[in-house]
């Protein structure tokens, strides 16, 4: 225990910290400039000087570690004089252009100068002149205003790990610059903006468009892009979002954001938003009214359910919609339409994996705190690049690496290039063998655990196989796993999208089990977890309760006042097949774009065009909506309230920030329809729905918005017991794989885009404007490709033309293309095989030919 006295106040510290931190803890303010809570102390500005008894000169409080018995004074005439002097020094080369500077009003230098009354009046020499740079699309750089505190660089290097900027030069001529001195060409997290105390780096999204004191309101809410669920503040003026910023200490992200979260908000104000319902007349979608459109939908669905039975109707839910939306949606499908055919695109990744793991290892196995990553000794990363899919989660991996953790990467993961300790890149067709061998090696050392009979049994089966260990890095990877006292496994969804995906998942489950590891599933969309919790999977009711267990059925039937449909529901790919062979007549799509977001999208389109009736509820006229008979305009992020459950299983509140006319909340549209169809739903606000969920779902038992708003509700918050593993998981089966192509096509998950929302965000489009074919160095060398070459690449189902970008972090013969841009995504040329166990599409064997144009 350390006791120190600051300004006559005795303070007891429970852990070592600097005098500055101790003061902060005691509520005593010491001025700082180079210090920032997120960053390590630097000690450059010297504003934080204090007097310490029995120490000769003034001390820097930010770097001085509090020692027992220290007596500190934070204000005195001498100290004030020094601070005034330092501030005067800072102003001598400062342009003093506050009236023009966007930072004015939230500038730390301005505030300090106001407090200590410094001026630069005695400085008669020339100031350093550096013209403002607008060579970057997103950032303006004004190095005259820079106080060289290096906060931005420390943020970029020590926290973000992008290391895209540096202090260039020495002494008074030091200025922050990106490598090329022009475009930042970085991860565009904008976290440097957060820490710059002055107006030296500014966002060009809102240049000169408002003053910090001119915002009408600031609303604390959650990001709409991915499953990390970062907290952020939306600043609003004139009913439109002017800026998105993080808040120190808040949420999972604690003051950090990624490019999508910070700069991707513009889609919500896009001109292309749907404002009125549309109805197809003579093959054309034309504007309609709510009453007409809802009438058509209600009549048509009623008719089909009567004539053909409920099981000819299918519903696709959305991982971009809230828990409330999804809950109401599945209830509607089951109770009003009479079908269990309800699934989502998440089945092609997260939902499939989540179900498999929970079946094997019990409910909740995939929900772990992001923060836990930082405390790992070894982190195994496979199936995707966490730093792209879930950027802020990726930061914790980088942090762990900096703190000395082993980062074992299987496959490609560009964002960990400078952080990995070892990388194993199995051939496309050998992934399962290599991973199984790794599992086998671990299980040999660890012995039988004997807690999960199915896993133990399968491990014994595996033991008979000949291991494949002659891959570079294998031994090192094995060693890192075996020697680790605290392991995390971070799995991306590429691993699910394999013809033998279940075998890969089994190895992950086995490693999780044997190493007692924390398992993290990368989660591209914001509510993939909540979607499952809400019951938007055919086989499970809300709270992950299997629908075929009669106790659960009975309970929900009582709560919901009716009978649940008998038939087993279909998964999404089965629904598409159903549409193709006309067993599915009608489909209701809420906030999803299956005609674009499912592999082999052209054939999905063909299948959908065979439907009798297609309803799409969305905020944009998507590829799927264009095919619909009725399109219903919904409300989006910041326009409505609702809860989202992130990949940790943390339930968070998204708030309404702006008014939008034209659309309606997803749940409200559904409820109105349901009422029209004779199944009563009486919700007047989202909280009503949450009250119901809190009653029926064991995972969300007794939760209220008040509690959720605290931000620390991870289910099962009120201690409801979780479901154990399922004992009859289908066993593993061999999959014939005969691949011998030169190159394989894979899906790029770009940092700057997500689904199809981001293509309507101007800023993100500026950063990454068109899809590029990403090829590794060896691939490029093999066919003589250069950065910027135009190529044509062809698979068995189509051809796409694109520019080439060489990416040395791709270590094998995969080439990557994204599925985010309007011009046609990679899914349009990818065929798949279904994995029988997970029902997810396997797309790894997509052979591709590349021709230089």
């Amino acid at each position: 225990m350390i006791t120190i006295t600051i300004n006559d106040k005795e303070i007891t510290l429970d852990q070592p910290m600097s005098v500055l931190e101790a003061s902060r803890q005691a509520g005593i303010k010491i001025p700082t400039l180079c210090n920032h809570e997120i960053l390590k102390p630097y000690g450059g500005c010297r504003l934080c000087v204090v007097e310490v008894e029995r120490m000769p000169r003034l001390q820097n409080s930010c770097t001085l570690i509090a020692a027992d018995g220290m007596v500190v004074k934070t204000e005195s005439d001498v100290i004030s004089e020094v601070r005034r002097g330092i501030l005067e020094f800072l102003l001598i080369n400062h342009p003093l252009d506050c009236p023009y500077c966007d930072k004015a009003g939230e500038c730390e230098l301005q505030d300090l100068v106001n407090k200590y009354g410094a001026t630069a009046g005695r400085y008669k020499e020339e100031k350093r002149k550096v013209p403002e740079s607008r060579k970057d699309q997103i950032f303006a750089r004004n190095m005259e205003r820079c106080v060289a505190c290096t906060r931005c660089v420390r943020m970029c290097h020590d926290v973000q790990g992008s290391s895209s900027i540096a202090m260039i030069g020495r002494g008074g001529h030091t200025r922050m610059e990106p490598f090329t001195a022009e475009s930042f060409n970085c991860e565009y997290c904008g976290n440097c903006l957060t820490v710059c105390p002055v107006g030296a780096i500014l966002s060009r999204l809102n240049m000169h468009s408002f003053r910090p004191w001119q915002v009408d309101k600031e609303v604390e809410t959650v990001c709409s892009y991915c499953g990390v669920g970062c907290s952020l503040i939306a600043q609003v003026r004139d009913d439109s979002i002017k800026r998105v910023i993080p808040k120190l200490g808040l949420g999972v992200n604690k003051g950090l954001l990624c490019s999508r979260g910070r700069f991707g908000y513009e889609y919500i104000g896009s001109e292309e938003r749907l404002k009125t319902p549309l109805v197809k007349k003579d093959g054309e979608l034309v504007q309609s009214t709510w009453s007409e459109a809802l009438g058509i939908v209600a009549d048509k669905l009623t008719e089909i359910s009567k004539v053909n039975s409920g099981s000819s109707i299918a519903g696709i839910a959305s991982s971009r919609c809230s828990n409330e939306d999804n809950y109401v949606f599945q209830k509607f499908m089951r109770m009003a339409c009479g079908t269990n055919n309800i699934d989502s695109v998440s089945r092609t990744g997260f939902a499939a994996a989540q179900k498999y793991f929970e079946d094997l290892l019990g409910q909740g196995i995939t929900g772990n705190m992001v923060d836990g990553l930082k405390h790992s000794e070894t982190i195994l990363v496979l199936g995707g690049d966490p730093t792209n899919v879930n950027p802020v989660l990726g930061l914790s991996i980088r942090q762990a690496a900096r703190d000395g953790a082993n980062i074992v990467v299987i496959g490609n993961a560009g964002g960990l290039e400078k952080f990995k300790t070892v990388q194993v890149v199995p051939h496309v067709f050998e992934e399962a063998e290599v991973l199984e061998s790794l599992l086998l090696a671990v299980s040999k050392e660890k012995g039988v655990r004997g807690e999960r009979p199915f896993v133990d049994k399968e491990l014994r089966v595996l033991a008979d196989r000949a291991p494949k260990t002659d891959v570079e890095g294998f031994e090192e990877a094995k060693k890192a796993l075996l020697e680790s006292g605290s392991t995390s496994i971070v799995m991306g969804m590429d691993l699910v999208q394999r013809t033998d995906g279940h075998r890969l998942l089994f190895t992950v489950a086995g490693l999780t089990y044997l190493l007692e590891a924390r398992l993290y599933l990368l989660c591209e969309r914001p509510n993939e977890q909540g979607l499952i919790d809400a019951g938007c999977v055919p086989e499970m009711l809300p709270g992950g309760r299997p629908i075929n267990i009669s106790d659960f059925r009975a309970k929900f039937e009582a709560e919901w006042n009716g009978t649940l449909p008998e038939n087993d529901g279909l998964t999404i790919l089965e629904m598409i097949e159903g549409a193709r062979n006309h067993t599915i007549k009608a489909m209701y799509v809420m906030g999803e774009n299956p005609a674009f977001n499912l592999p082999d999208s052209q054939s999905v389109k063909d299948a959908l065009s065979g439907l009798d009736f297609l309803v799409v509820q969305d905020i944009f006229l998507t590829e799927t909506a264009e095919m619909a008979d009725v399109v219903l305009p919904a409300l989006g992020w910041t326009e409505k309230a609702g809860t989202y459950t992130n990949l940790e299983r943390r339930i968070q509140l998204q708030k309404k920030v702006v008014e939008q006319t034209g659309g309606m909340e997803d749940w409200r549209i559904i409820a109105e329809l349901s009422n029209k169809m004779g199944y009563a739903m009486n919700y007047s606000e989202t909280e009503d729905i949450m009250r119901e969920i809190a009653r029926v779902s064991p995972l969300y038992r007794d939760l209220s918005y008040n509690e959720i708003a605290q931000g620390n509700c991870l289910w099962p918050y009120h201690g409801e017991p979780l479901r154990g593993e399922v004992n009859e998981v289908p066993g593993m089966h061999d999959v014939d794989k005969e691949y011998n192509a030169d190159f394989y096509l894979a899906v790029e998950k770009p940092l700057f885009h997500s689904g199809t929302l981001s293509r309507r965000s101007e800023a993100l489009m500026k950063i990454y404007p068109e899809p590029l074919l990403k090829v590794g160095g060896s691939t490029a060398a093999k066919i003589g490709l250069q950065d910027g070459d135009r190529v044509q690449f062809t698979t068995s189902s189509g051809t796409i033309e694109a520019l080439v970008a060489i990416d040395d972090s791709i270590k094998d013969n995969r080439v990557y293309y994204s599925n985010n841009f309007r011009s046609g995504g990679v899914f349009s040329v990818m065929k798949f095989n279904i994995d029988k166990v997970t029902n997810a599409p396997g797309i790894e064997g997509c052979e591709v030919r590349i021709k230089k144009l």
Binding site: T63, F89, I92, V147
Partner: protein, 422 residues
């Protein structure tokens, strides 16, 4: 006193290991390896050796701290950055007597339990790099470096790391940063390098000359060594004298030799019979002595008492033809150029001081400029991250203290008389 540090230096092959061995070289390493490390450390303690890099810190104490730290590996870094203007004392050792340094480092490594050494050599000495590397190679060939040295079970690797033109890299924590591939900007202390140094390991940084004293201590014993020169800081010292003396150069003299004697006895007095005006006793960063202030023993105790510092022992002698305003201006230009930019008082203070001095020197001084200089200095002194900023401020203070009239004259006459005369 017979030369030790500069022994053999006139021999054109002095850098060759054979020549070095001929005059007893590496015997002292053998002697040290025959003793317990703790015994050798006792000799160092008895010798009273103090660091020659500028601060005069007792070497034994520093080593003791490093030895006390349980972490391994430990690193021994030789500070061969020799950047203090006016200093050229390490260069003859590096270029002419590299084996003395190598032997000294091997002995030191043995005492400290450090198995890896690096010589951080300033970029401005390209010739020394080749010479050192050749010498190191010879030493490896004779198993005076490397594994199991002379069969005594002691391993010591040594490599040269070349700086690239940054004065601040002479500061030990900046040197460490630079060796780690970063900008050479000083680190916060504590933790001190002896506990958390290069690659976060216990690290000992010593000057070339300091380490080169080790063979001598082994040769004559700590006790005898402590009898050389001043009582409180014994040993031989290299003084490098430049400017207006008849015989500038590097002199190996007992510590505590009087500055007056250095100038008049050893260096033959003021050049061309000129009149002495001022002496900077320990390199540009040390406060100037006026002509009547040079009756001073040159060691780490007496010089501070007389109002300056021994620094690197770089004596710059100026006669009446030298304009002190110009010297001050040039010195500040240096500090501004070399300020690493980390802390505000130094970065902005040196910039401002230089600008005012430039103006005064060029005849554009204003009334109140002297007060302004002193005000700016006040914000700097005691506030900068490392001694570089303090040094810059101290130079201005001392110059104004002793030569205020020259500053005033520049301002009132709006010109520099001496520059015009030249």
């Amino acid at each position: 006193m017979e030369n030790f540090l500069l022994r053999n230096i006139d021999n054109p092959n002095s850098a060759d290991i054979g020549e070095y061995e001929k005059s007893g070289g590496y015997k002292n390493l053998t002697r040290a390896l025959g003793m317990e490390a703790a015994e050798v450390l006792e000799e160092v303690k008895a010798s009273g050796l103090r660091g020659r890099g500028g601060a005069g810190f007792p070497t034994f104490m520093k080593w003791n701290f490093a030895k006390a730290d349980p972490k391994f590996p430990k690193y021994l870094l030789c500070n061969a950055d020799e950047g203090e203007p006016g200093t050229f004392k390490d260069r003859p050792i590096l270029e002419k007597n590299p084996h003395l340094l190598i032997e000294g480092m091997a002995i030191s490594g043995y005492v400290l339990g450090a198995e890896h050494g690096y010589i951080y050599l300033r970029g401005e000495y390209p010739a020394a790099k080749d010479i050192l590397e050749a010498a190191i190679k010879q030493a490896y060939e004779k198993n005076l470096l490397g594994d199991n040295i002379l069969g005594k079970g002691f391993n010591f690797s040594l490599a040269v790391h070349q700086g690239a033109g940054a004065y601040i890299c002479g500061e030990e924590t900046a040197l460490i940063e630079s060796l780690e591939g970063k900008k050479g900007q000083p680190r916060t202390k504590p933790p001190f390098p002896v506990n958390v140094g290069v690659w976060d390991m216990p690290t000992i940084v010593n000057n070339v000359e300091t380490l080169s004293n080790l063979p001598l201590i082994m040769e004559i014993g700590g006790e005898a060594y402590s009898k050389i020169g001043s009582e409180e800081c014994p040993g031989p010292k290299l003084f490098c004298v430049s400017g207006f003396v008849e015989k500038p150069g590097v002199y190996e003299l007992p510590m505590g030799t009087n500055l007056k004697d250095i100038i008049y006895k050893h260096c033959g007095g003021i050049k061309n019979g000129g009149k002495l005006k001022a002496v900077i006793p320990g390199g540009i960063s040390t406060p100037v002595f006026p002509a009547d202030g040079i009756d001073c023993a040159m060691d780490f105790v007496a010089v501070p008492k007389a109002g300056s510092m021994l620094g690197s022992g770089a004596v710059i002698v100026m006669d009446e033809s030298v304009c002190m305003v110009k010297v001050t201006y040039r010195a500040l230009k240096f500090f501004e150029h070399e300020s690493c930019g980390k802390c505000v008082p130094c970065r902005e203070g040196t910039d401002w001081l230089r600008k005012i001095l430039e103006r005064i020197e060029n005849g554009f001084g204003r009334e109140g400029d002297i007060e302004l200089l002193l005000d700016v200095v006040k914000v700097m002194i005691g506030r900068t991250f490392c001694p570089l900023g303090d040094g810059a401020a101290g130079v201005v203070t001392a110059m104004i203290k002793h030569f205020r009239n020259e500053f005033e004259e520049h301002i009132s006459t709006r010109k520099c008389k001496l520059s015009e005369a030249n």
